[in-house]
Amino acid sequence: MDPMFLAYSYFRRRKYQKCDEICSQLLEKNPYDQSAWALKTRALTGQVYVDEVDVDEEGIAEMVMDDNAIATVARPGTSLRKPGTGQGLPSQGVRPVTNSGRPVSGFVRPGTQSGRPGTMEQAIRTPRTAHTARPVTSASGRFVRLGTASMLSTPDGPFINLARLNFSKYAARPNLAKALFEYIFHHENDVRNALELASLATEACQFKDWWWKVQLAKCYYRLGMFRESESQLKSAIKQQEMIDSFLYLGKVYVRLDQPLRAVDIYKQGLEKFPGETTLLTGIARIHEGLNEMDDAVKFYKDVLHFDNMHVEAIACIATHHFYTDQPEVALKFYRRLLQMGVYNTELFNNLGLCCFYAQQYDMTLTCFERALSLADDTTSGDVWFNIGHVALGIGDVNLAYQCFRMSLASNNDHAEAYNNLGVLELRRGHIEEARAFFQASFVLAPHMYEPHYNFAALADQLGDLQSSYNAAKRAVDAYEGHVDSKELIQQLKQHFTLL
C-alpha cells in the first residue's frame, strides 16, 4: 500500500491525525515532497478549521481601537447599537433583555452574549461574574487559543516557519498557495502574513480568482479594515456570485452597523441562491437584533421551509411563541428539538417552563428534574431560578425561597434571583435584607428594570424619597414603557414641588 495514498485516504475520511503522522514520516524521508507537504498543511488546517462566517466575537480591543466612524445617533431601527422600539414584539416586561437592550435570543451565538461597552474604562469596569474573572474579552483570546492548539500538535516547533517563507514564490503557484493560505490563516492565525500571501496571489492570477479576493476580505476584516474588506468582497461578487461572499459582505455591514444594508446584501444573495438557509438565517438574526420579532420569525419560518432540521430557527421561533403567550405552540417546537436528538439542560428547562405555562403540571417537575441532572455549574443557577419561578406560581413561597438560594449558591451573580429573593424578604417583612437584595441585583444587572423599580418602591415607602426618585429614573431608563415607575416619578415630583 502506498503511504501517500493511505494518507490521502485518511484525509478524505477526516482522520487528520493519522494523515498528519504519515505525511510527517514521508517528509522525514524526503523533505522536498511537495504533495506530502501540501497534504500535511491541509490536514493541520482541517484539525482547527472554524468557518470564518460564524466567528463573530467582538472584544474590547476591537471596539476601542475601532476608529471607523459610525454615526453615534442613528435613526431608530437603522442601527444594531440602539435597537428601535420595535413593532410586534412583546414588551420588556414580558420578554427579558440582554444588557445591550436586545431581547433575549432563543439561540446562543457568538455575539449574543456580550454587550458593547463604549470605552476601555467602561469595559474594564464591567462587573466580573463568577464565571469570568475578566470582562468579556476580545475575539483575539479565542483566536489565540486556536493558535496554541496548533502548537501543541507539533512539539518541535511550528511545521512551517512563516518568517522564512518566500511568499512571492508560493503565490505564483496556485496549487500550493491556497492550501498554504488556509494553513496560515486558520492554523497559524497569522493574519498579516496571510494577507501578504493573498495580495501577492491575487496579483499573480491577475485578479481573476474570486477566491483570493474573499480571502483578502477575510484578512482585512480581521485587521479591522472594513472598507477595504467591503470593496474586495464587492469585486468578488461582481466576478462570481458565491454564498460565502454574500455572507462575509453581510457580516462586514453588520460590523459597520448598517443592518439594513446587510439585509439588502443577503436579499441580493437570495436572488441568486433562492432558499439558501445561511442567508435567510442572516436576515432573521439581523431582524432579531433590531427588535423586529415578526420579521425575524417570518424569515426563520422560511429557513424551516428549506431545512426543517434547522435547530436555530426552531429554537428562535419557539422562544418567540413562548414570550407571546403561546406556550403550547412553543412546547411543540421544543418537543421537535427533543425528537431530533437535542439533549441538554437548556432544552429541558424550556420544556419545563412551557409545560408549566401550558398547565401540564405533571410534566413540569420531571422536565426540571432532567434539566438539573444534566446541568453543569454554568447552567444550574438558571434552572434553579426557573424552578423557583414555578414554585412562586404554585404559591409555595418556602420552596421558591430555597430555590432562589440554590440558584445563588451555584451562581452568585444571578441578578434575577437576587431580585426575587428581595421581593420574598419584603413579604416576610425583612426590609433591610430586601433592600440589600435589590441593591445587589441592580448593581449586577443594571439593564433590568425590576430591581430598580422594586428598590424605588421600597425606598418610597421608607420615606427615602431621593433614592426612590433616582431608582425610579433608572428603571425608566432601562425600560421606557414601565408605567408603574413613571407613576412613581410623577408622584414624587408632585411631592417635591409641594415641598
Binding site: N175, M225, F273, D307, N308, M340, S373
Partner: protein, 945 residues
C-alpha cells in the same frame, strides 16, 4: 439531528480490521443474470473481493437479515484493492465485467455462474480477462465510451502525481500529465461532452476534452509509453473556481433533469452546467462524506443523497432538504441498488466495513435518555429527611455567619525551640540591608510531629517586617505516624526599620486523611537581643516614659543579664540599648522610688524595650511567689507623639494616591496618543506625525518616572507603617498600664486601635481605626442615649487625619473618665478617674462634642479648620510641651493641639511639587530629534502594507 432513522433491510459486517474508502463499493448485475438484479461488490484495502446478492426473506419479526448464502464470491488478492467498477470492459462481449484497481495494476475479471442442481449449489467463478501493469502509483480511475464509441467502456487511470493513462480495453493508448497537478482529485467522464471533469489542487473544477488530451502528444512519430517524462500542456476546456477541495463529482444525465455536473466540496455542494457555469450551490452546516444523485420525480430538479459525518443521510431536492434519516455508521460511500424484493435500496458502506442495505421510513430515531435515579420512593423516610433538613435550614437561617467547627485533635503538632544564644556566625550577613551593622541571627528549631501518616506538608514561616527568616517555606512529602522531623530556621533583621513585634508564626498546611485541608500553627517568640544591642546609656533624650511598680526597685543588671554588654560592671541603674540601624533606648531604674524610666529620641522605639522590661520584671519579682507584682503608668499619654506618627503615615498614603492619580492620567494620555498615532499610520496617505511620537516618548518616560516614584513612596510608607505599628502597640500598652485593663478589655482595645497596619487601595489604617473608634464612642463609650445611633459611613480615604486623631483623643478621655470597654463591667473607681484626667478637661461631660464650643481644648479637638486661622495669630501653649519637662508629677493630659502647623494647603503644594519634580520635562526631549526620525520611518515601514 434527524427525526427518523433508516429502516434496515439487510446488513453485514465485513471482515475484521479491514479498511474501506470511497471506491470500494460498487453495484451492478455483475454475473449478467437475466433477471437484472443488482449485486453488491466490495473490495477492501486488504485485498479481499466480495460479492453479495442479498435476498432476505420476510418473517414475522421483520427481515431475516444476512444469511451465508448471500455471499456469491469471496476471493483474496495479494494486492490492496483501491477501486472497483462494473462496465463493458471486454472487447469480445457486451457483458458486464469487473475492473479492479490495485496500486500498480489494473485487472479486468469476469464473473460467471455455474449452476448446480439446487439453488445453493450454484457456484460463481472469477476469471481474469486481462491486466495492465502500471508504472506509477495509482489513485483512481474512470471509465466510459471515450471518443463516443458505442457499447464499449475504456478506462482512464489517474496516478498519485496527476498523470492520466488511457487504456482502450486490452491495449494501452497513451499517458498525459494533467497541468498543475499536485494531489489528484476525483475524476469523471462526461459522455455528452466527451470530456473529463476533475478538481485540481488549485481548487478549480476543470474540464478537459478527450480530443485535446489525445492530441497533446509530444511528437507524432514516437510510440506512446506509460513512462513519460514530459509532455505538452493540455489545453483546458473550461475551469470554475470553487475555492475548496472536492470529495466527489457526479455527472447528471437524467431524462427529466437538465444535464449538469454536481461537485461535492468539503463544505459546499455545487451544481454546474456542462458549460462550466454555476447553476446553484448549497452551503452545508455539517461535514459531508459522500453523496449520490438520483433521478427526481419533479421535472427539472435533481435529487441527491448526502451522507454526513454526523451519521445521517440527507435527501435534498436541489437546495431543499426533503428528508433526513439517521444511519448506524458514518458511510464512506453510498449507492442505490435494485434488489429482488426491494427496488431503490440505499446501500451504504462504512470505513470499518459495515455494509447496510436500507430504505427510508418513519421509524423515529429514538434517543433513549438515561433514566434519572429511578428508585422506589419511601415517603416516610423522605418526610423524615425533609423534616430534618427543614430544621437545619431554619437553624442556619438565624445565624447569618456560619462559623466552621474547629477540631482540636490535629494530626500534626508543631513545637518550636528558640536557641538561647545568638548564632556564632550570623547568617544575615549577605541578606540584611542595614548599612554599617553586623546583624546577628538566631536559630529556631521547628519540630513537626504527626499522629497519623500525613502527606504533602507545606510549612510556611511568616515574619513581619523588618524581621525575616532564612527560608520562608518548606515542603515535606510525607511524615509517618508517630515520627517527627526537625527544621532549622534562622531569623534576623533585614530592613532598617523598627520591629513592632518580636514573634514569628509557623503554619503547616496539609490534607487530612479525608482530603480536607488542615492547618496547624505555632508562634515563635524571639529574644530582644536579636534586634537590639547593648550600648552606653544616653543621658538626655526627647521622649521619656515612666512606669510605677508596687515593688522596691531591682538592679537592671539582674533582669537584663543577657543584654549588659559594656555596662556589665556598672551599678545597674541605667542600661542602654540600640536597635540595629536605629535609635538608642535608655532604661533608668530609680534608686529610691519604685519607678523605672525609658527614654529615647524616637517615641515608638520604646515599645519593645518597655514590653520586655515589664515582662522581665514580672517574671523576676514573681518568682516563687504569688503574682502580686503590678506595673502601672500614670504619666500623661503621649498622644501628641503618636499623632505625629499617624500624620507621617497618612502623608505617605496621600502621596501614593496622588501618584496613582497622575499615573492614571498619564496612562490615559498615553493611550490617546497611541490612538492618534495608529489612525495616522493606518491612513492610506501618510501625513506628518506632528510630534506625536515625541509626545508619546515623553509620556512614556513620565510613566516610568511615576512608577519609580510610587515604588519609592511604597518603601517609605512601609517604614512608617512599621513605626506606626510600634507606636500603636506602645500606646495600647500604656493605656493598659494606665487604666489597669483586664485582658478582655485589652483585646478589645487592640482590635479597635489595631497595631496591624496593612494598607491597600480600598481602605487604609486611618479610616479603619476611625470607624472602629467611632463605633466604640457610639456604643459602649457613649455618654447619652442620643449618641448611640449607629450609622456607619462607607470607608473612604479621609482628606486629613484630624478626625481619627480627634476620636482617639476622645476615646482616651472617656476611658480616663472610667468608661469600660466591655459592657456590664462596673464603672472604674473614682480615684482612677481623677488621677490621669486633668482638671480642665470638662469637655466631654456633655456627650456630644459640638455642644461645648466655649471650651478651648475642645476647639482643638473639634474645630481644626477654625482653629488654624486662629493659630496664625497666636499660638496657644502646646500641651505636649509640658509632658516631657515635668514628668514625675505632670498633670496635663496630652491632647492633640494641632495636626499640621503649616496648614493643609501648603502640604498639598509640597506634595504636588515633589511629584512634579520626578516627572521629566517634555522640553528636555528636544535634543533627541534623531531618534525620532528613525522611529518615524520605522513605523511607517511597518504599516505600509
Amino acid at each position: 439531528m434527524s427525526l427518523f432513522k433508516t429502516r434496515d433491510w439487510w446488513s453485514v459486517a465485513i471482515g475484521e480490521d479491514e479498511e474501506f474508502d470511497h471506491g470500494c463499493l460498487c453495484i451492478g448485475n455483475i454475473d449478467n443474470n437475466p433477471d437484472n438484479v443488482d449485486k453488491i461488490i466490495i473490495g477492501s484495502f486488504h485485498g479481499i473481493l466480495r460479492i453479495y446478492n442479498p435476498h432476505p426473506t420476510k418473517t414475522e419479526n421483520g427481515w431475516s437479515g444476512y444469511k451465508v448464502e448471500d455471499v456469491m464470491v469471496e476471493q483474496a488478492f495479494q494486492l490492496p484493492i483501491l477501486q472497483i467498477e462494473v462496465g463493458k470492459f471486454s472487447s469480445v462481449t457486451e457483458n458486464l465485467q469487473l475492473a479492479v484497481l490495485h496500486p500498480r495494476k489494473l485487472a479486468i475479471y469476469s464473473v460467471k455462474a455455474i449452476s448446480g442442481t439446487v439453488e445453493h449449489g450454484q457456484q460463481y467463478q472469477i476469471q481474469k480477462l486481462y491486466e495492465h501493469n502500471l508504472q506509477r502509483t495509482t489513485y483512481n480511475f474512470c471509465y466510459g465510451p471515450f471518443g463516443g464509441i458505442k457499447g464499449k467502456d475504456f478506462i482512464c487511470v489517474q496516478s498519485m502525481d496527476g498523470t492520466v493513462s488511457f487504456f482502450e480495453q486490452e491495449s494501452f493508448a497513451f499517458s498525459r500529465f494533467l497541468p498543475g497537478a499536485l494531489l489528484p482529485g476525483p475524476l469523471k467522464y462526461v459522455p455528452r461532452l466527451d470530456s473529463f471533469i476533475t478538481v485540481s489542487s488549485s481548487w478549480h473544477v476543470e474540464c478537459y476534452k478527450y480530443q485535446s488530451i489525445a492530441a497533446a502528444s509530444q511528437s507524432p512519430g514516437v510510440d506512446e509509453t506509460q513512462n513519460i517524462k514530459s509532455g505538452k500542456k493540455i489545453v483546458v476546456d473550461w475551469t470554475f473556481s470553487i475555492g475548496e477541495a472536492a470529495l466527489d463529482i457526479n455527472v447528471i444525465a437524467f431524462p427529466q433533469a437538465p444535464s449538469s455536473i454536481l461537485v461535492l466540496g468539503e463544505r459546499n455542494l455545487y451544481c454546474l452546467t456542462e458549460g462550466g457555469l454555476l447553476r446553484y450551490m448549497s452551503k452545508m452546516e455539517f461535514d459531508p462524506c459522500c453523496f449520490l444523485p438520483y433521478g427526481s420525480m419533479t421535472e427539472g430538479t435533481i435529487n441527491y443523497i448526502v451522507a454526513t459525518t454526523t451519521k445521517s443521510l440527507l435527501v435534498y431536492q436541489d437546495v431543499t432538504l426533503k428528508w433526513a434519516a439517521k444511519v448506524e455508521h458514518c458511510p464512506v460511500q453510498v449507492k442505490v441498488a435494485n434488489f429482488q424484493d426491494l427496488k431503490g435500496s440505499i446501500v451504504t458502506l462504512s470505513d470499518d466495513g459495515h455494509l447496510q442495505c436500507s430504505y427510508l421510513g418513519t421509524d423515529p430515531a429514538i434517543f433513549i435518555p438515561p433514566a434519572t435515579d429511578a428508585r422506589d420512593l419511601n415517603y416516610k423516610a423522605m418526610d423524615a429527611e425533609m423534616e430534618k433538613l427543614q430544621k437545619k435550614i431554619r437553624e442556619k437561617a438565624h445565624k447569618a455567619v456560619i462559623t466552621p467547627n474547629l477540631k482540636t485533635d490535629d494530626d500534626l503538632q508543631i513545637t518550636v525551640h528558640v536557641n538561647q544564644h545568638l548564632d556564632d556566625g550570623s547568617s544575615a550577613t549577605n541578606d540584611a540591608q542595614i548599612p554599617g551593622e553586623k546583624v546577628p541571627s538566631i536559630t529556631a528549631r521547628i519540630v513537626l510531629k504527626a499522629k497519623t501518616l500525613v502527606e504533602n506538608i507545606h510549612v510556611d514561616i511568616h515574619t513581619s517586617r523588618p524581621l525575616t527568616s532564612s527560608q520562608h517555606s518548606f515542603t515535606l512529602s510525607s511524615l509517618e505516624s508517630g515520627k517527627s522531623t526537625e527544621l532549622l530556621v534562622q531569623f534576623y533583621m533585614k530592613y532598617c526599620s523598627l520591629p513592632s513585634t518580636l514573634s514569628a508564626e509557623v503554619s503547616a498546611k496539609y490534607p487530612s486523611a479525608t482530603g480536607a485541608p488542615r492547618v496547624a500553627t505555632a508562634k515563635i517568640k524571639l529574644p530582644l537581643k536579636l534586634v537590639m544591642k547593648p550600648v552606653f546609656p544616653v543621658k538626655n533624650a526627647e521622649h521619656k516614659l515612666t512606669i510605677d511598680t508596687n515593688k522596691p526597685p531591682v538592679s537592671l543588671n539582674d533582669i537584663f543579664p543577657d543584654l549588659l554588654g559594656e555596662n556589665a560592671g556598672s551599678a545597674g541603674a541605667a542600661l542602654g540599648f540600640q536597635f540595629f540601624g536605629g535609635p538608642v533606648v535608655t532604661i533608668l531604674a530609680s534608686k529610691s522610688s519604685q519607678r523605672y524610666r525609658l527614654q529615647c529620641d524616637q517615641f515608638e522605639a520604646m515599645w519593645l524595650p518597655l514590653k520586655d522590661l515589664v515582662g522581665r520584671l514580672t517574671s523576676h519579682l514573681n518568682r516563687g511567689r504569688s503574682g502580686d507584682f503590678k506595673a502601672s503608668f500614670d504619666g500623661s499619654l503621649p498622644l501628641q507623639e503618636y499623632f505625629e506618627l499617624i500624620e507621617a503615615h497618612f502623608e505617605y498614603r496621600m502621596n501614593a494616591v496622588k501618584c496613582e492619580e497622575m499615573l492614571g492620567q498619564r496612562a490615559s494620555q498615553f493611550r490617546v496618543i497611541q490612538r492618534r498615532l495608529l489612525t495616522k499610520f493606518k491612513d492610506k496617505t501618510p501625513s506628518p506625525l506632528q510630534n506625536l511620537d515625541t509626545l508619546l516618548e515623553g509620556t512614556y518616560r513620565q510613566l516610568l518616572a511615576l512608577a519609580d516614584a510610587i515604588e519609592d513612596n511604597n518603601q517609605a510608607q512601609n517604614n512608617t507603617s512599621d513605626n506606626l505599628s510600634s507606636g500603636t502597640n506602645l500606646l495600647n500598652y500604656l493605656i493598659k498600664l494606665w487604666l489597669d485593663l483586664t485582658e478582655e478589655e485589652f483585646s478589645v482595645l487592640t482590635s479597635v486601635i489595631t497595631p496591624i497596619v496593612n494598607d491597600n487601595h480600598q481602605h487604609g489604617w486611618e479610616e479603619m481605626v476611625d470607624a472602629a473608634v467611632t463605633h466604640l464612642l457610639r456604643t459602649v463609650l457613649a455618654k447619652t442615649a442620643k449618641d448611640t445611633s449607629i450609622n456607619p459611613a462607607p470607608l473612604t480615604i479621609p482628606s486629613d487625619a484630624s478626625k481619627v486623631k480627634k476620636h482617639i483623643a476622645l476615646m482616651c478621655d472617656r476611658l480616663g473618665k472610667g468608661c469600660r470597654l466591655i459592657e456590664g463591667l462596673r464603672e472604674r473607681s473614682e480615684h482612677k478617674q481623677k488621677l490621669p484626667a486633668p482638671k480642665k478637661m470638662n469637655i466631654t461631660e456633655n456627650g456630644t462634642i459640638n455642644e461645648t464650643p466655649e471650651s478651648r481644648p475642645v476647639d482643638n479637638i473639634v474645630n481644626m479648620k477654625y482653629n488654624e486661622n486662629k493659630k496664625k495669630k497666636k499660638l496657644p501653649p502646646l500641651a505636649g510641651d509640658n509632658i516631657s519637662t515635668n514628668m514625675f508629677d505632670s498633670e496635663t493630659f496630652g491632647l492633640p493641639v494641632t495636626d499640621i502647623p503649616d496648614g493643609d494647603n501648603f502640604n498639598e503644594k509640597r506634595r504636588q511639587k515633589k511629584i512634579e519634580a520626578i516627572v521629566p520635562n517634555l522640553d528636555d526631549m528636544d535634543n533627541q530629534d534623531d531618534d525620532r526620525n528613525i522611529n518615524q520611518t520605522d513605523s511607517q515601514a511597518l504599516f505600509a502594507l
